[in-house]
């Protein structure tokens, strides 16, 4: 069995499962699009430059959506498969664990891409958000690639024992990160203590890269460094947990 054949087989199956279970994608899209509608069409935020605000908030909602998919749908699905005994069964088969994991990441990436495209299109249709071609592409790419630390959070959630716990915890983390990171309301509008905390949140730097791109700037070095540091920490914890679970 060549590894390529296994990878293709695994990715195809995971994709099929994703398409057949649109529930997860629906929820990752419904809330951000609703928020976008409310805060750019219904509520008057009093922004000086309406066009800039509409583009900024579109990036907030696209990051918010992708972050949710990465944390919640990956985490909960991993727990589900383990609770059902499927993940354990996989370890008895000759499928390398890395291919199994790759299949999961592949499907996540497809879902993230879908979230980005749908939300960008929604922004265009609702407000006629106009960005240059490269701004669309680069902000999309940024959200796609910088979501990796949140996939690591999803993997951590995935090591939990019960679906209920995983679902509750991931919801809490998701919403907490979104609010403190300034995805729902810009961090500048918050009390100074919240601003101080927010600037250390991975979600702030995740959104921050995309906000810079739509302002016509490059993502800051701090965005890269802080996201990379979070990724490293999550991976270390994740490795530690996996080793511990294997020993039991």
């Amino acid at each position: 069995m060549t590894t390529w054949k296994l990878i293709i087989l695994q990715c195809r199956m995971e994709l099929l499962r994703m398409v057949r279970n649109p529930y997860y994608i629906f929820w990752s899209l419904a809330m951000p699009i609703l928020f976008y509608f409310i805060f750019t069409r219904v509520v008057n935020t009093g922004a000086d430059d309406a066009g800039q605000w509409q583009a900024h908030y579109l990036m907030s909602m696209a990051s918010f959506s992708v972050m949710g998919t990465a944390i919640m749908s990956l985490g909960i699905r991993l727990v589900q498969e383990r609770v059902q005994g499927w993940a354990i069964y996989m370890r008895v088969t000759p499928l390398p664990g890395s291919v199994y994991f790759f299949g999961k990441m592949f499907v996540q990436t497809v879902m993230h891409l879908l979230c980005i495209v749908v939300i960008f299109v929604a922004g265009y249709l609702m407000n006629g958000v106009s960005l240059s071609f490269w701004q669309w592409v680069l902000s999309g790419l940024w959200i796609l690639i910088a979501s990796v630390p949140f996939l690591a959070i999803g993997t951590l959630i995935g090591s939990m024992k019960r679906v209920d716990t995983a679902s509750g915890v991931s919801n809490g983390i998701y919403l907490g990160l979104a609010i403190t990171g300034g995805m729902w309301f810009p961090i500048d509008a918050m009390p100074s203590i919240m601003q101080a905390i927010g600037k250390w949140m991975p979600s702030y730097h995740f959104g921050g890269g995309a906000w810079s791109i739509v302002r016509g700037e490059a993502p800051g070095l701090d965005n890269f460094i802080i996201l990379a540091a979070y990724l490293a920490v999550f991976m270390v914890i994740s490795t530690y947990i996996r080793k511990k679970q294997q020993a039991d």
């Binding site: 296994l6 499962r17 354990i88 008895v92 088969t93 039991d248």
Partner: protein, 307 residues
């Protein structure tokens, strides 16, 4: 321990598995011969499933070595040669039964055809088209078996395979296992049903408190563990007859039950001959051999009492 020609298919060498300070498996060694059907028996918590988990590479041994085909169970080359039916019923959502079987077939270099798998597992074409998560408990068991054989493995593990199956499904299952065994496959299974071990296995490993307390053919285990006895009715003074029997070589115990005298001995022939020589009016003689159930109870309770 039996002597093997060639390398054993599976081997445990002084394996211990600790959970905290508790020894779930304690210094266990055994080797499984190619083409054999081995039953791992024992009460709950005896260490059967832990032993299987270590052989499948799902748990690491705390001490000792576990080898399949002379290699680590985690080796992908080893996993290509084994199939397993685990206790937990495992299915994937969003896929039909047929799709799951084909997915697993794709993992192995020389899988069985879907047709053969359906035939052996008893899955109907209607069941193959069902969503896997919508299958009933019995159907999921069949699927689980289908997945175990999908890769045409040389070594098969069945952990409590017939729990929750009705009588006819159980019969069908063992029929298929017999067929697989006749093709030269090596089979290891755990069970609570002693009758299944007695009927199916050519070797029994009896686990108790993390150790192998008996290892041999079902016959050997029965004769080793069960007490053979001669019983009869006699109209003479029982106390006198008891004294006589006690003097017969090989008789270890004499007792009275329901008006019959029982003489416990491994050598029933000598006891009978001695009895005839006394010239007593002995009636309704019987030779009793205990069942495997008795042996099992005796082995697993006597040691608990001794603690």
């Amino acid at each position: 321990m039996p002597e093997f020609i060639g390398e054993p298919v599976a081997e445990l060498r002084k394996v211990t598995k600790m959970f905290g300070s508790k020894k779930a498996v304690n210094q266990v060694s055994f080797a499984i011969e190619k083409g054999s059907v081995t039953a791992i028996l024992g009460p709950n918590g005896a260490g059967k499933s832990t032993a299987i988990s270590m052989m499948l590479g799902l748990k690491d041994a705390s001490e000792g070595e576990v080898l399949l085909f002379g290699r680590s169970p985690k080796d992908l080359k080893v996993r290509e040669r084994l199939g397993a039916m685990l206790q937990e019923v495992s299915v994937m959502d969003g896929l039909r039964t047929r799709e799951i079987i084909n997915l697993i077939r794709g993992y192995y270099p020389n899988p069985l055809s879907l047709q053969d798998i359906a035939l052996l597992s008893g899955l109907t074409s209607e069941e193959l088209n069902k969503w896997a998560v919508k299958m009933s408990g019995g159907q999921k068991r069949k699927l689980s078996f289908a997945l175990a054989i999908a890769g045409n493995p040389e070594l098969l593990f069945f952990d409590e395979p017939t729990v929750g199956l009705d009588t006819s499904a159980r019969r069908l299952f063992w029929q298929t296992v017999r067929k697989l065994a006749s093709q030269g496959k090596t089979i290891l299974f755990t069970t609570h049903y002693l009758q299944e071990a007695d009927d199916m296995a050519d070797r029994i490993l009896l686990f108790h408190q993390g150790q192998v307390v008996a290892d041999g053919t079902p016959e050997a285990i029965k004769s080793k563990l069960t007490r053979r006895s001669v019983s009869f009715i006699v109209d003479a003074d029982h106390r006198q007859v008891k004294e006589l029997l006690h003097e017969v070589p090989g008789v270890t115990d004499v007792y009275e039950q329901d008006g019959r005298l029982h003489a416990v001995t491994d050598d029933t022939d000598t006891a009978l001959a001695a009895l005839f020589r006394t010239g007593l009016a002995v009636r309704d003689m019987r030779i009793d051999q205990g069942s495997l159930d008795e042996a099992f109870d005796q082995l697993t309770t006597s040691q608990e009492e001794a603690v």
